[in-house]
């Protein structure tokens, strides 16, 4: 059992505030992804959980035990590093067995565990090789196997797939998810790649400027972003925003159209995902600027009331540059944000 609790964690590097008010509970055996742009503090948070960095304030609990004063080795964790950190002077076998040797496990136990995890990661043929003789993907597998061989309560991964090429990354993504699900460990996975986050996570924590903006399931983060930052960060292309002015009685004026919305008296931002727009008889008037046929669908970039607006439409439609489309937002998919706080409004 390894539930992770992060309580009021803050980290300062000199005058730079890298993390503030981090409160997060990760369930036992949950796959949690920390997602954010570079510099948002996600790696710092991971390193604080690992014990490679000390928090300026706050507490870290793993499995009901406070660990922030403990060295990494006593926290029941294993880690996969961004550049793999596969020791160049040791063979694949000794790399995978490194942690087990440090625990002074008997030789046959080391051998058993190394061979089992190497089999799991399909690198049993490489046990005698050095890292200089391996490809990037193979090194990645060694790094994961080394972490799994520890049979840890928690496995921490710092952008483990970012150095692989696109095809390999997709392959490893699925494989890693499967292997981790079977190993029954709690996993924290840092990435800036939203596709990786969406496809692998049980829950995603979206981080921005040293804070967790939203922690929820991938579909929740996608459908109901808690803040404009999340709406603009998740989804490719991201959500569209338009200014909306109140027209009374829960009605709103958006680009000259009257739409239903929350009962408020201050201006809001109207938001809709590009794929939640349909050509219709009434709706937002959109001037088509660029048409990108992507095979499965059509990505149309237009201008609505002078603002940039994207729609993902059926690929059977004939749309040309300069056309004016009437796009109707699917009512249950419309979201509203307060421009003052940038937070979602129900």
């Amino acid at each position: 059992m390894a539930e992770i609790q992060i309580k009021n964690v803050a980290k300062r590097f000199g005058s730079y505030q890298a993390l503030r008010d981090i409160n997060l509970t990760i369930q036992d055996q949950e796959f949690m992804v920390l997602l954010g742009a570079s510099g948002c503090g996600k790696t710092t948070l991971l390193r604080i959980i690992a014990g490679l960095e000390t928090a300026t304030e706050g507490e870290v609990w793993i499995g009901g035990r406070r660990v922030d004063h403990l060295p990494p080795k006593d926290r029941g964790i294993a880690m996969v590093f961004q550049n793999y950190a596969v020791f160049p002077h040791l063979t694949v076998f000794e790399n995978i067995g490194f942690g087990l040797r440090m625990q002074k496990l008997p030789n046959d136990e080391v051998k058993r565990r190394v061979e089992r995890t190497a089999g799991l990661m399909h690198i049993d043929q490489l046990l005698g090789r050095y890292s200089g003789e391996l490809s990037g993907g193979q090194r990645q597998r060694v790094a994961v196997a080394r972490a799994l061989a520890m049979e840890p309560d928690v496995i921490l991964m710092d952008e483990p797939l970012s150095n692989l090429d696109a095809l390999l990354r997709m392959e490893m993504r699925a494989e890693l998810k499967g292997v981790l699900a079977e190993s029954n460990t709690t996993a924290i996975y840092v990435t800036h790649d939203q596709v990786e986050a969406m496809s692998m996570a049980d829950r995603i924590s979206v981080m921005h400027q040293g804070k967790i903006v939203q922690a929820a399931s991938p579909i929740e983060v996608y459908r109901n972003p808690a803040a404009e930052f999340v709406a603009g960060f998740i989804g490719n292309p991201p959500m569209n925003f338009l200014p909306a002015t109140p027209a009374g009685d829960g009605k709103w004026t958006v680009a000259g159209q009257i739409l239903d919305g929350p009962s408020r008296t201050t201006p809001l931002h109207f938001a809709i995902r590009p794929e939640d727009l349909r050509p219709a008889d009434t709706g937002l008037a959109a001037m088509v600027k660029v048409v990108e046929p992507l095979g499965a669908h059509l990505l149309v970039t237009c201008s609505v009331d002078g603002a940039l607006f994207r729609a993902v439409l059926d690929s059977d439609l004939t749309v040309r540059r300069g056309d004016t489309l009437t796009l109707a937002p699917q009512p249950d998919r419309v979201r509203w944000f307060d421009p003052e706080t940038t937070l979602a409004v129900a």
Partner: protein
Amino acid sequence: MNARVLPYVLILPVTAFLCLFFLYPFVLVAKQAFSTGDGFTLDNFRQVVGYWKFPISLQNTLLLAAAVVPVQLALALLMATMVNKMQRGRDLVLYVWTIPLGISDLAAGIIWLAIFEQSGFLNSMLSGLGVVDRPVNFLSYQHPGVVFLAIALAEIWRATAIMLVILVAGIGLIPKEYYEAAEVFGASPWKRFTRITLPLLRPSLQTALVLRVILAFEVFAVVLALGGTLFPVLMSETYAYQFDLLDSGAAAAMALIILAISIGFTLIILRALRVPKGATI
């Protein structure tokens, strides 16, 4: 110019310089060593090896190297690790530690002579403290141990920095991530040093040891200043053949013997610290 030819043209001056001032004299020395006036002979070698002082000077040289080099290696590793951990003032400390490198070996010998000689600092201190009632002549035949110790100390003081700078550069090349990985996977600071630093430092250790061991077999001025004729070493014997006995054939033979020993040890060091293919950083 043709890109295939250019590299060779560029190294030509250095090659010519080395041929003229290194290879050519070397051939001359080799010729001298293997001849006595009438063709090829091993007489020079028989003569120098058969001389009663040869085993002593060989033994002294080896003993000195065996005493000095391991101490220097340990010290240099310790200092390099310390320097590498420093956040600020790292360069200043490195400069101070490398000052002895800027002093000629004879000057270094004289500095330590000033400490150990009969009217030296050590005697002044000891008599000031009342430990001795009159100055002791430490560097005399009655105290061979002290002579050896003084020479060893001077050598350690003088030439540890040469290993230090090589090792500092080498440690700097080891990515931090390896240490973090080792830490996460349970390696104590000592284990991180023995399991990560030392093996990944092998290329630098090779260079540092080869350089230092070769210098140890060429030890001369420090020994001369502190031990004089009390502590014969291979190099001082070579000097004696050339300038006291005016026997350049024997001196050349001695020089070649020192060279052979140096090459032998170099090969041993390279072999012992070799990095398997594919196992480099």
